[in-house]
Symmetry: C2
Subunit: 259 residues, 2 copies
């Protein structure tokens, strides 16, 4: 068994994404991202980015603050299943879920004219189903609770994808590298100059996010993900160090986008 700290409760999309990555997962559920980082479980699993919400700022700030090695990433398409004790979709009168999930499944709710009820989490909704009721939640939540999946993937067409990072896991092929860049001074064009270290060595950036240093309004550090690009990234790092401080958070394989 591999003990991994992650956001709970059991049956959420984070749980489903972790099951996708780890064989023999032993879950250690936490209630905040800080608790995940501070857990005594060595391996951790945290969300880094969602296609609708953007970067997960708690994760980025804690990556900067603590010395954990990123060793992998997982991308999960958020697909809500319609879950019930009933066996036939025509017996459903009410659907329960987290308000975000209800908002993401407006089309099917309108099509069938179901009543809706908000729950604290998608997993909670599955645990509290009465007769004539269904929940919108992950497929793993149906399995864990022994419920029926009446229909898979019932969300509207928004692209809802979340990317997760694995901390302190097994080494992988090094395709991309996460870095924290802290400019050494505040002067016109410094970000442009730092980025020239990547473009000068023909290295693609797949992600860049600014975060406040918490020391002064308008003072930032940058979280970036760059192609490892064989030896060229090492040259770019030397170039970056002439402009400020560079924290190397680790290298890992690029996850494939789900269909």
């Amino acid at each position: 068994m591999v003990k991994v700290a992650l956001l709970g409760p059991s049956g959420t999309y984070t749980h489903q994404a972790a099951e996708k990555y780890f064989d023999n997962l032993e879950t250690q559920f936490c209630s905040t991202i800080r608790e995940v980082f501070e857990s005594e479980a060595e391996k951790k699993f945290v969300p880094i980015e969602n296609s609708l919400g953007g970067g997960v700022t708690d994760t980025i700030d804690l990556l900067e603050e603590r010395d954990e090695k990123i060793t992998g990433e997982v991308i999960l398409g958020i697909q809500h299943a319609l879950i019930s004790d009933e066996k036939d979709i025509s017996d459903i009168e009410k659907v329960k879920s987290h308000p975000q999930a209800l908002a993401q499944c407006k089309e099917i709710i309108n099509e069938y004219g179901w009543e809706t009820e908000e729950a604290n989490s998608t997993a909670d909704a599955v645990e509290n189903l009465g007769s004539g009721e269904a929940a919108l939640a992950s497929e793993i939540a149906a399995e864990l609770n022994g419920k029926n999946i009446l229909r898979k993937s019932v969300q509207d067409r928004d692209v809802n994808v979340t990317r997760f990072l694995v901390l302190n896991g097994e080494p992988e092929a090094e395709e991309k590298t996460s870095l924290i860049l802290k400019p050494g001074e505040d002067r016109p064009g410094l970000l442009h100059s730092m980025l020239s270290c990547f473009s000068g060595h023909e290295i693609n950036l797949s992600h860049i996010q600014s975060r406040p240093t918490k020391e002064k309004l308008g003072e930032y550090f940058f979280y970036v993900e760059a192609e490892t690009a064989n030896g060229r990234l090492q040259k770019a790092l030397k170039c970056l160090e002439t402009y400020g401080e560079v924290q190397n958070l680790g290298s890992y394989s690029s996850a494939e986008m789900p269909e």
Copy 2:
């Protein structure tokens, strides 16, 4: 009177910042940033950045979505006052406030050994004071509720400053300009190339924040604030338009940092 939509309730730091900017403010309090943007009040007042929390993503996404003109900015140092019906600090046994404010005033709480109690907002705490109790809140909340300010600025030394934007207000001297940049394609070095339009025309950027386009994971637009720099910004805009779409959100004066 000037009718302005802003986040409520009355007596919060947003309210205090708006009073600092507008003469004869007529407040229209809303409960979310989206409601502020959708309010029928023409003038709006929204937070854009906090020195501890970073960019306010709801505001950035709504600036991109809606056609409102930024005409000013206000910077407010978040300074908690100790507010009570009591007249003497030695009669205080318990302090109430929003958990964030309690966390920001640990030193004085420990020094006096006060009990603490969490409230829904700093303004709520002031409205529900019993004997021997004090609240940590804005000075304006004390005024609005006819309470005593026992001590000003009791927070620990963290730099806690929030910047706000004024929408559709009176024109000001044009010192800085807010832009949304949408790269026209996804290729290595495109952000670097776009930033070269600013550095090439010697224009300083005071803020840059990436946000997801919500169409595809890893596809971003950028909210930037640039020096207006006389006619040079117009040249930079022409340069930027060769790389993608540029939305000009308006020009305004730079606010001074509070002491």
